[in-house]
Amino acid sequence: MKNFLKAAITSVLLSSLVLTGCDEQKPANKSVYLLLDTSGTYTKELDKAQSIMNYLLATLDSGDSIAIARIDSGSFNEKDIIAKTTFDSRPSTTNNQKRVFKNKVDTFVANLEKGSFRTDITGGILQAADFVNETQAGEKYVLIFSDLEEELQKGHIRDFPIDMQGIQVVALNVTKLRSDNVDPREFKNRLNHWQQRVEDGGGNWRVVNDLERLDRMFVQN
């Protein structure tokens, strides 16, 4: 009887431990790809992009991946990636990686003198989709910091479906152009066009223009 009681108490303690752990889902690691529009006047908005990057670095943790790339005239190119990393499993190393990452992006923003002539958003999204898929993360995000006005170079072909299966695409700080003021429908049409492309490719589309509420970028589990 005594031994039975001891065994019972041990079992209760262990099972409560296991049950406490079981009711929580294992958190999925994240992969985030931030596309920065560096075309024309949008370069003035890059300080906001730095705030977003800082938020991402503060939010992401060990095992998560992050990359920042610019959108220029031909964005389907590894050279446009400013910095990328997958955070180490050790917290101290992760902190160092975040510092290095921040320095790289700060240097890029400081040295950027003039923006690109064209804006190849599709190329950037294709590049981003490749990156986030390669990381095999549980949650994949492509953040587009742009006015979403695509201007392609002559000869570049981008009017084909993009595979965005399982990817959350978040448009950040989508500014209104001068022409949008003349005809606001253009702004709506632009957003709808990108939403349709992303959703046709199997992805999810969201717009977050209020940079005070960056927590809305990520899906709340």
């Binding site: 929580e24 800082n54 938020y55 503060a58 499993s89 975040k98």
Partner: protein, 489 residues
Amino acid sequence: MNEFTNLINLWSNNTSVSSLIWLALLITLLYLGRVQAHQLIFSSFRMLHTSLRLWARSISQLIGRLKSRNKEVLLAAGQAEVKTKIEREFNRISTIVQRDLSQYPAIHREIKTAIETVEVDYQNCAETAPLPPAWGDVVATITALPSNGDPTVNKILDNIKQSIDDAHQQSLSAYQKSGSDRHKVLAKMQPDWRKLDDKMDLVKEKVDSLEERGQIIDQQMEEYLSIRSKDDKAANILATSSLTQFFIAGLVLTIAALGGLINFQLIAMPMSEMVGGTSYIGSLKTSDIAAMVIILIEIAMGLFLLESLRITHLFPLIGSMDDKMRRRMMIISFSILFILAGIEASLAYMRDLLALDHEALQQALLSTNSSDSQTAVGSSAEFRWIPSVGQMIMGFILPFALAFIAIPLESFIHSLRTVLGLFAIAMLRTLHLVLRSSASLVTQISKVIISLYDLIIMVPLSAERALERALVKKRNNASQNKSINEEII
């Protein structure tokens, strides 16, 4: 639904008329089968009532068995406890006898020596110096002698008087000296008296201590005898004591669990630096499991340590080991506990470093100006060592504090048997009450159903009763007429 309507309208297209016919048929049928229906209802509910009473009786017997078993368990535990207490008291008495009364021959010798010294001194006091002779009368007689004016006689008498005075003075001095010597001897006796008094106090103290222990043993023996006689009062006292112990041990275990939680928080984060923060076992982080395992090992080592010190008796195997092996086990478990406490202290320090690093990074990410963050960090750096040292001390002390969990755990397990038994009895009593209430309820329900049955067939039943009454009346009239006729004849 249609079929039902058709069935209702079987006798007539008018639903009311058809329903009335159905009702009449039903009442007729019920009236015809009244006796059988009553028997059926009565026997069915009687069967239910009987089986419920049977269950209640079985539960009652089970309660009795459980109560007697609980009492036996309680008395056995109480008996073992009192036995241990009595053994401990006897051990204490043995220690007192060995420690204090073993010195008794020496004390006795000292007392004897002191008494002898006092005796010798007393005898010395008794040797009195000779009293001055009664020459006073002689001197007075000589002084009173008539001198007759003869200078020679006068001179002789003066000389005699002078000699006698001198002898008297000498005797008096000798007497006074002897008295002073005796006082000195008596003064020398004073420390011996005091020594004697101290020794006697010491002996009294030891004897009193033994007497106190004896009284405690008497009380415990009374308790033991009461338990041995399987007295209900003793069982009740033991049950109350067991419940108190259960709640107190539960409270202490809760406090220990909270301590363990704090300990876990202290080492879980730095543990991810050792085993990685991204790997999972099931849905739990490996680093969290590793931290938990360390805490559980510390608790286990604490159990073994207290077990080998014979403070707790959860593992009879450890308690029955020979002293050499037990001492080895004690040293090993203490060493492991000490090493783990050291590891925890270093992990706590690492946690502080990581927190500091994380804080610096967060400040760097939040502030656009790097000098702001440096100033912020610099201003608080002066007092940074306080939480660091505090966390290290906590990391080192908590494992030892957790090691003592074995004591309340043992009490909790022992008292849990009684508490579970009492709980089971309470549950069974409730069940017994429910079953008995259900049995009487079933009887009442059967009566209500029979009454309802009769209510439905009240028309033919009333007719039957009226007919019966008329028949009885007719029969009475007939018998009365018959008797009148007989009387007339």
